[in-house]
Subunit: 229 residues, 2 copies
């Protein structure tokens, strides 16, 4: 199919690796699997796979994410292309890393059953194969940058969430403590949150009001960007 001129050039294996972030209410976590094929079989690894000739790289990333989580319509973004010659010990593989933000609660059970998947807090990631640790570091950095200007943090929370949960999330992402009053004022001033009548009563006696977000305004801000923190 490729025309004559291109025939002289090398073809390479192209992989996709996914950094899947989740938030458990306190800690920011990444989903890892035990690799089920050689080399490095049994070692902790990001979920990954190869790009097929007939699918785009984005499609490939979506397919791989679905294989592990069963999820579609997930927030996902391309991170970086890792292209060192020796990055994969078994041969030349160029890997395009993606990161995904998912709501950890709804999917924990099914995730753990497939691929021996497990959530790890970002501070205690085990030894990973190849350059996967580096990929996670880069993803963390990009998440921080992105979250500062785009309200994508919500992707990590359940549909309804409390302000303390949201605060915890941002603190986990920045690994720093934020002023409760300043934070809530700023978030509420964006006008993308709707307060619900209901309260979350598990973590405190008083209970914290649930909020949800206004999809329309949210989409607008997500695209345009705002000064978030």
């Amino acid at each position: 199919m490729d025309i004559v001129k291109y025939r002289n050039h090398d073809k390479l294996l192209v992989a996709v690796d996914c950094i899947i972030f989740g938030f458990d209410g306190t800690k920011l976590k990444a989903l890892l699997i035990r690799r089920d094929f050689e080399p490095e079989k049994g070692k902790w690894s990001l979920m990954g796979g190869f790009v097929n000739k007939k699918e785009s790289v984005d499609e490939s990333a979506a397919r791989i994410l679905k294989e592990l989580t069963g999820l579609t319509n997930v927030y996902m973004e391309q991170l970086y292309c890792f292209g060192d010659t020796k990055r994969d010990s078994a041969g030349r593989v160029v890997s395009i890393a993606y990161f995904a933000l998912i709501n950890i609660e709804d999917y924990t059970s099914q995730l753990v059953n497939t691929h021996e998947a497990q959530w790890f807090p970002l501070e205690s990631i085990p030894k990973l194969i190849f350059d996967h640790k580096q990929m996670i570091n880069k993803a963390k950095e990009m998440l921080r940058n992105k979250v500062a200007n785009h309200p994508i943090g919500f992707e990590l929370l359940p549909r309804k969430f409390t302000l303390p949960q949201l605060l915890n999330l941002y603190q986990a992402i920045y690994n720093a403590s934020l002023d409760k009053r300043n934070f809530t004022r700023k978030i509420l001033s964006l006008g993308i949150l709707k307060k619900l009548g209901e309260k979350e009563k598990e973590t405190s006696r008083k209970g914290a009001f649930y909020y949800t977000f206004d999809r329309v305004k949210y989409k607008k801000l997500a695209h345009e960007g705002v000064n978030f923190i």
Copy 2:
């Protein structure tokens, strides 16, 4: 060489395309070439080439930049991986785009002679092959984001430059006019500029002082990032 397990997977052509930015004192420009092979031979295009099996993607980008410009040690950064199945009309090619910032003055002549290269102002980019226009747009966006927090704008200027030139550069990048006084105050407050005794006398009767930058402080800021504009 690749082990058994990887054999089943498709291998793809992997290309690199370079968005090369330059600044002529007034306008921000991109360097384009007339493509010298089929398909789309003779059409305007970014400088590109294929990644060889034995070189990393970064090395490949550096090699391709050198082929066109003769330059090494150029500021270069990976932009994005473009992976649609139909992006190249002649076959499946995944392309990793890079952008480079070069000092337009020193290299204009040699550039124009090779590959029929030509500088185009960003507002008047001709029709380009494949998704190259999209690549340029993304590079412009990334340049804006990066420049807001990292003093990489200097990469586009000659070793010594005037404050009005620097102002013009930022105005060109942002496509907006900036306040001269606020701008110079802020830039000088970073403490990375050294004022030279000499003046540039071509563009005004009064003449504008040349500045150069303190490499040490510059490097530090370039890495850490600052709030630049």
